[in-house]
Subunit: 120 residues, 2 copies
DNA sequence: TGTCGTTGTGCGTGATTTGCATAACGGTAA
DNA sequence: TTACCGTTATGCAAATCACGCACAACGACA
């Protein structure tokens, strides 16, 4: 009964539609690091097309502006996360980590043959 | 910041491949209720083809026999969960509910404007 | 005014999913 | 023994979806 591993995903929704999950979290983080959607996509090994589609989906249901885009100009353009987005990422990361940790705990309790209580 | 709802999924893997998640849990439960794959599929509103594919995928990585199948005979045939599968479903349901409950708690903590600590 | 690297988008191609159609099976009853 | 019935099991064509190439628009700076 214990050949299993547990996995879990946590994400936020708006109006029943997916808003922010792990993939989009990584994308936004990469934009923050790299300063542009294009560089972020390359960084993560995904196509600009796909990254752009994810951002569009997010923006369609976001209650606030996600990022400032600049087309043309020095460097060809750039994209910058808003303060609210940076704050959102922080909260989401904390939430996700807490849930993952709890999932591991529950798994140990429900599926281990003989489990001493872990107190991590 | 609080137009969001939290969602989470929990599932089991074997050898890095998805084994038991919410959809397959519902399928197996429906087989238990209905006594056949066909009736279970109708019950859930999915095609027999798809239900069968899910079972096949599970069986390819399952450490034990999932269900007994009978082709032909009275009623045309039938399918019955093994005792181990019934036990697995119980444990998974418990695990899933615990993780979901914890996710709701964490969400309240991380995203509520002013949150008194909930102690459910 | 030309250059450059962005953002933004149309569209053809390939992969994946879906569902229809059909074969095989075996208890039961005639 | 044989026909019947509803199930398990599967091949295959059609539809749907995802991917990524190719290209247009943009604007600060030299």
């Amino acid at each position: 009964m214990s050949d299993f591993r547990i996995r879990s995903k946590t994400w936020l929704e708006v109006d029943g539609k997916p808003f922010l999950g792990d993939g989009r979290f990584r994308l936004l983080s990469a934009i923050q690091r790299n300063g542009s959607i294009n560089a972020a996509a390359k960084d993560l090994g995904l196509s600009y097309r796909k990254a752009w589609a994810q951002l569009k989906a997010m923006e369609e249901s976001s209650p606030f502006l996600l990022l400032e885009r600049r087309t043309g100009g020095t460097g060809g353009g750039a994209s910058l996360l808003t303060d609210e987005t940076v704050e959102l990422l922080k909260r989401f990361e904390k939430l996700r980590d807490q849930v993952n940790r709890k999932a591991d705990q529950c798994f140990a309790t429900c599926f281990a043959e003989e489990s001493a209580h872990a107190d991590a």
